[in-house]
Every structure is written in structure tokens, then in C-alpha cells.
């Protein structure tokens, strides 16, 4: 039945290159998460704000991020914005695309988390004399982050998986890009992508493990 000869050695010989790619993948994903969380907090505040314009901007962002394919968003970040003469490198485009996506999904999560925090919490803060912003910063936000920690971990995994879409904008240093380049050289599709799959799997497991440890450290209540 199997008249295909596996050449695992060829793939394994390329492991160092692929691991370098994995590092780039992690970098992009982590960075897009960090910026994405910050943006999501801002978007959440915008959506709560009384200003029509701010909440409109935030809502459009969230809805577009959530209702179009990530591939489309990344493609837009490269070829779409370039139609206006703004040029980003593949790395930047990928980062922007994923960050845009992360921020949208996280902002929606944060909004759900906010609903779960009794408004007596903010009230208790306000009645101690904290300003509105202080009450958000010191009382509401930490709880919001905790409630959305699991969704945030999931989003991080998504971010890792989304880096594989970078090839559409010319990215060739991330794990998927490296694998594809190697595939062009050797045509050992199955072996190379199987190795890449294992690396991706391990990365997501490491992230989930790391998140669990982090959660244990951060949320001791």
C-alpha cells in the first residue's frame, strides 16, 4: 500500500533552520499578543466611552477583525495598504495583521469579562475616593484580565497558528515560511511539514503550560 519512501533524514537535517523559524514565529506571536492586549484595553475603553466616534471606531475594528478571515486581514495589511503608498515589510505586515485580529477578538473578550465583574466593585473603588480611571486601572482591569486569561491563552495559540499565513505576504523566516522554502528546494513535502507540525504542536503546548504557570503565579486569589 505504501509505495512512498519516507526520507526523514532529509527533513531532520533541516531541523536547525526550522527551529530558527520557530523562534521568529514565537517572536511575532508574542509581540502581536502584547500589542494586541494593550490595544484591546484601549478599544474596550473606547467602546465604553460616551463618544460616538470613539465607540464607533472601536466597534468597527472589533467587527471587521471578527468577521473577516485572518488571511484577508494579513493580505490587506500588505497589499491593501500599499495601494495608498504605505509599504510594510512582510514581517511588519504579518505582525500588523495578527495584531489587528488579536485586538479585535480580545476586546470582545474583555467586554464579556467586564460584564462578569459586579459594578459594585467599581463603586466600592469610587467610594474610597479613586477616580474613574484609577478604579478601572486598579480594580476592574486586573479582574478583567484574570477572567479573560483563558481566552487570552487561546488567542495566543491562535496567534502562533496565524503566523503560518505570513507566506502570503512574502514572509519566509517564520516556521511555515522556512518549511515552504525547504520544500521548494527538496520537494519532501510530507516529511518537512510533518516536522513543522510537531514543532507547532510543541510550541502550543509550551505556551499553554507557560500560561498555566503564569496564571498560578499571577492569580493567587
Amino acid at each position: 500500500m505504501f509505495n512512498y519512501t519516507f526520507q526523514w533524514k532529509q527533513a531532520l537535517a533541516r531541523l536547525p533552520q526550522m527551529l530558527d523559524g520557530a523562534v521568529v514565529t514565537m517572536q511575532v506571536a508574542l509581540l502581536s499578543m502584547a500589542i494586541g492586549i494593550a490595544l484591546a484595553v484601549v478599544l474596550t475603553l473606547f467602546r465604553l466611552s460616551r463618544s460616538r466616534i470613539l465607540s464607533g471606531i472601536a466597534t468597527s475594528w472589533v467587527e471587521i477583525a471578527r468577521n473577516t478571515p485572518a488571511l484577508f486581514q494579513i493580505y490587506m495589511a500588505h497589499f491593501g495598504v500599499a495601494s495608498f503608498g504605505i509599504h510594510f515589510s512582510p514581517w511588519t505586515s504579518l505582525l500588523l495583521g495578527i495584531t489587528f485580529n488579536n485586538a479585535g477578538y480580545l476586546a470582545e473578550n474583555f467586554r464579556g469579562a467586564l460584564k462578569a465583574i459586579p459594578d459594585t466593585q467599581a463603586r466600592a473603588g469610587r467610594s474610597l475616593g479613586l477616580s474613574e480611571l484609577q478604579a478601572f486601572r486598579f480594580i476592574v482591569m486586573p479582574q478583567m484580565l484574570r477572567i479573560s486569561f483563558l481566552p487570552m491563552t487561546n488567542q495566543m495559540v491562535w496567534a502562533i497558528l496565524m503566523t503560518s499565513l505570513g507566506v502570503t505576504v512574502g514572509m519566509n523566516t517564520d516556521l511555515y515560511g522556512v518549511t515552504q522554502d525547504l520544500n521548494a528546494l527538496t520537494f519532501r513535502t510530507f516529511e518537512l511539514f510533518a516536522v513543522a507540525a510537531v514543532i507547532f504542536y510543541l510550541i502550543t503546548k509550551i505556551i499553554q503550560l507557560g500560561a498555566r504557570l503564569l496564571a498560578r503565579r499571577m492569580f493567587r486569589y
Binding site: A124, S127, L128, G129, I139, Q143, R220, Y221
Partner: protein
């Protein structure tokens, strides 16, 4: 002195406070009783400016709470308030709960805030729970922590909104003891409560709210001994 002058307040079509007049003198302990929805909690949150009012005035030490020019964050440092529940900030330890406002609002240094917090927590009998998270505390301990947290801002007035009604019967006592302690220290207090025994014992005056109106106000002996309005009579019969 807290002066409440003809305060009216509606939520949408529902008039919750229908012209309340009330003065609380320094050193006085005033208890408010009344049925559910009679506007007791609303009045308290109006006093520290958490809710706007529709008409009338509330003066705290002569400052009009709802005036535009009033710095509410500053005013609130004078007025501690403890709610029925969800008082604890779950992500902070007991000590951090109490230290937060002194540090962020008053800008106290960390050691000063900590000393203050420890003092207040010991005062309410939580000196051994400093680094514990609120989820590990019983409801009664959480409420005492909330009291210590309010006290750490050295407020001149304390408002209590049914601080025992979400508690197990077993835990009510310890919280009421803390309130008694405060009252005997001479703190000016407004307590909304359903604990008639406590009201009778501790209050200088008791006010009975009914459907947004302060139907009766009198020293406890008089109010409980000889209730005038039929509503109050009914209410007392039901809670006996």
C-alpha cells in the same frame, strides 16, 4: 454634619426618593430601616455622590455634594461606605485591599500606608489575615475587612448598607460587634440594617423609610415602643 434637604431622585419613571429631609449630627449613630425597595441604599449612594440627584441638596460639612465645583474624589475620603456584598477586591490580599486607596488617593508612602492598614485591620480583628486573599475569608471577615478599608482613609462619616444581610446567621454577630466598637469610638454613622436588635441598641435615632418617604424618625425606644404609622407597625410585626 450631613444635611439632606428635600432630596428627590427617580430612576426613569420610578420615583425612589420623594423628598427626603434629614440631618445627621456629628457623633450621632442613625439607623435606617424599611422594606425592600424603599430607597435606603439609593439615599446612601447619593450622600457620597455615586448617584446624581434630581432636586434638593445634600451638604456634607457644608459642602454641597452634587455641586459642579465639588471634588467628589476628595469629598469621598471623608465618607466611608460599606455595601451589602461584593465589597472585597478579590485580586488583592487583605492588606493590599486596605492599602490601595491610601496609596493611590492620598499618595501615602508604602510603609505609612502599610502601618495604617495593619492598624485598622487589627482594630477589626483581622491582624492575622494580612496576606490572605479575600476568597479565603468568611463573609463576615470580608465585611470587617471592608470596614477596615474604609477606616484606613480616616473618614469622618461612615455609611453602612445592610452589611450583614448577605451573611450566614453565624457570622452576623462579629460584624455587628465591629459596628458597635465604631459607635462607641464616637464615629458618626448611618446604618441601613434589618437587625432590629442592633438598631435598638446602638442608634441615637432610627428612621423608617417607606416607599421613598421617610415615614418616621425617632429615638429607638420611642420608634420601636410606640410606632405611629400603620406601615411601621406592619413592618415591625413582619420582622419580629
Amino acid at each position: 454634619m450631613i444635611e439632606i434637604q428635600n432630596v428627590r431622585k427617580s430612576f426613569g419613571a420610578l420615583e425612589v426618593l420623594k423628598g427626603i429631609d434629614l440631618t445627621v449630627h456629628n457623633g450621632e449613630v442613625l439607623t435606617i430601616i424599611g422594606g425592600s425597595g424603599s430607597g435606603k441604599s439609593t439615599l446612601l449612594t447619593c450622600i457620597n455622590g455615586l448617584e446624581p440627584i434630581d432636586s434638593g441638596r445634600i451638604l456634607v460639612d457644608g459642602t454641597e455634594v452634587h455641586a459642579r465645583s465639588t471634588d467628589l474624589n476628595k469629598l469621598r475620603q471623608k465618607i466611608g461606605i460599606v455595601f451589602q456584598q461584593w465589597n472585597a477586591f478579590p485580586h488583592l490580599t487583605v492588606l493590599e485591599n486596605v492599602m490601595l486607596a491610601p496609596r493611590k488617593v492620598k499618595g501615602m508612602s508604602k510603609p505609612d500606608a502599610e502601618a495604617m492598614a495593619v492598624k485598622q485591620l487589627e482594630h477589626v480583628g483581622l491582624g492575622d489575615k494580612l496576606s490572605v486573599y479575600p476568597s479565603r475569608l468568611s463573609g463576615g471577615q470580608q465585611q470587617r475587612m471592608a470596614i477596615a478599608r474604609a477606616l484606613a482613609m480616616s473618614p469622618k462619616y461612615m455609611l453602612f448598607d445592610e452589611v450583614t444581610s448577605a451573611l450566614d446567621p453565624m457570622l452576623v454577630g462579629e460584624v455587628l460587634d465591629t459596628l458597635r466598637l465604631l459607635a462607641s469610638d464616637g464615629m458618626t454613622m448611618i446604618c441601613v440594617t434589618h437587625e432590629m436588635k442592633f438598631a435598638r441598641e446602638v442608634s441615637d435615632r432610627v428612621a423608617f423609610f417607606h416607599q421613598g418617604v421617610m415615614a418616621e424618625i425617632a429615638p429607638p425606644a420611642e420608634l420601636f415602643g410606640a410606632p405611629k404609622s400603620p406601615d411601621l407597625q406592619k413592618f415591625l410585626a413582619a420582622t419580629a
